[in-house]
């Protein structure tokens, strides 16, 4: 029937999500509509298949990695809170947030957290390091069959060489941040959600 959407989302929940993610009330209800429309099984959670049903995501070379970012370690279902928590990384940084007091917990959409999201796309085994092997695998996903192993290997080597500072032949999160310090992360890793 028609009234599934926000009647199942209680006001308290909306408030909690608002505090945690920074989305507005109407944005949360809209995204809940979207969540329920993707939830074909109608059980309040999304599985990987639910995401793969989106054609534009299925043709994205890194589609599987992005889908994976929604699921915590070892789990196969994501509920609405988890969904919103991941999407919150892409909320634009508003001007009045930039000067918030540093004593509070860092918001999900801070520059560091946006970079952490991207870092985790590379870090396949979640050990907080991007090894040469992991970089190769992600590169292979992005280029398909169009580049030879040797060429891809040298690209990976060069990238690690440029970023690696402590000589362990892998990229840690801090090294990752350092390499990308001049990139406009705030704009490139943000989506303009309508109010």
């Amino acid at each position: 029937m028609g009234s599934r959407a926000s009647t199942l989302l209680r006001e308290e929940e909306i408030e909690e999500i608002k505090k945690e993610t920074g989305f507005s009330h109407s944005q949360i209800t809209r995204l809940y509509s979207r969540f329920t429309s993707l939830d074909k099984g109608e059980n309040g959670t999304l599985s990987r298949e639910d995401f793969q049903r989106i054609p534009e995501l299925a043709i994205n070379p890194l589609g599987d990695r992005i889908i994976n970012a929604f699921f915590p370690e070892g789990e196969d279902q994501v509920n609405f809170r988890g969904f919103m928590r991941t999407l919150a990384h892409f909320r634009p940084i508003e001007d009045n947030e930039k000067n918030k007091d540093p004593s509070g917990t860092e918001p999900l959409n801070s520059r560091t957290n946006k970079l952490l999201f991207a870092f985790r796309l590379y870090d396949l085994d979640r050990d907080d390091k991007i090894s040469r092997d992991e970089l190769l695998q992600v590169l292979r996903m992005m280029v398909g069959v169009n580049i030879s192993d040797e060429q891809l290997g040298s690209i990976a080597d060069r990238t690690i060489q440029e970023a690696d500072q402590n000589g362990d032949n892998s990229i840690s999160f801090n090294e990752f941040i350092k390499v990308l310090e001049k990139v406009d992360v705030e704009q490139k890793m943000s989506i303009r959600f309508l109010h």
Partner: protein, 393 residues
Amino acid sequence: LQLEVGIERVTFRSKGGNCSHCVCVYDGSMEQEIGELRRCRPKSLAGGEFTLSDIFYFSRKGIESIVEDEVTQRFSSEELASWNLLTRTNNNFHYISLRLTVIWGLGVAIRYCILLPLRITLAAIGLSWLVIGTTLVGLLPSSRMKNWLSELVHLMCYRICARALSATIHYHNKENKPRKGGICVANHTSPIDVVILANDGCYAMVGQVHGGLMGVLQRSMVKSCPHVWFERSEMKDRHLVTTRLRNHVADKEKLPILIFPEGTCINNTSVMMFKKGSFEIGGRIYPVTIKYDPQFGDAFWNSGKYNMVSYLLRMMTSWAIVCNVWYLPAVERQEGEDAVHFANRVKSAIARQGGLEDLSWDGGLKRAKVKDTYKEQQQKKYSSMIVGEDSSD
């Protein structure tokens, strides 16, 4: 190249961006955006241009498509800007006022207790007259009289059925109405499209043989004038289908055939890929646009969610079905034009007339997975960016 154009249309809506439901999408092309990301790097490496920041483009595009995508929204009913007093369209339900609830309750009483019985009666009359009338006409020998009577019977029945749905139809540009020996193509929203079009002219229907009530209708219809019904097994044989249709079209005395090239029901906000089969038959194509007004009732048939009977019940308990039908000028395939290009040309014309979005995505994505070739296209494009111009083909 056709595939490339299709993808570009998907990711490249307009220069500045595109604001729709949830999200404002900035639509730069892959080269544009990754180029901007790379400009922040102090040096460019010889013989290879991968940077760690390239991943930002793909992750952002991915998240955008999770928040809102062009395709999946076409397979469910359109959301209305303001409520039309039907519970089914009330997705973000919250109690507004007592007065509104009373009016809504009154609406329910009128729709279910007064309109519904009347409509069911009319539908029953219309369908039984269709069966009886066409069988009677079928007894006559082939002659001009038979054709004339057949058209009369068909029109009468479809008009009764249209009344049964309280359908208000406005036909535009009637001078372009499909003529004999041609092919009429239209965008597809629901099985009711057939009733809408057949109210104004006679068509030869094309479709699969069904059992049950549909089967009875099909068998009796074909007695009075030739329609093209296929067995399920025959549908798989494309050559056979094309030949039969071609033979039908070649006979200038036969009614124009009615085809819905999308192959499935779409929610009337866009037109999706036209299957090229209908455009390989030859003959003149008469494009028709059907646009329903969602304010009075939602005509879209979500076949995954509702079966035929519950769908018809929903139709008969809406306020009305209001729609506009535009007959577009006939088109023919040009010299050297391939079927796919021709199909896209017709599709764009239909979309433009109805104010619908012109998509290249296949309506079959409602049930099937997207082909890997599209992903491979993206990968190829990205590869040529990393290794430079010398290896792009």
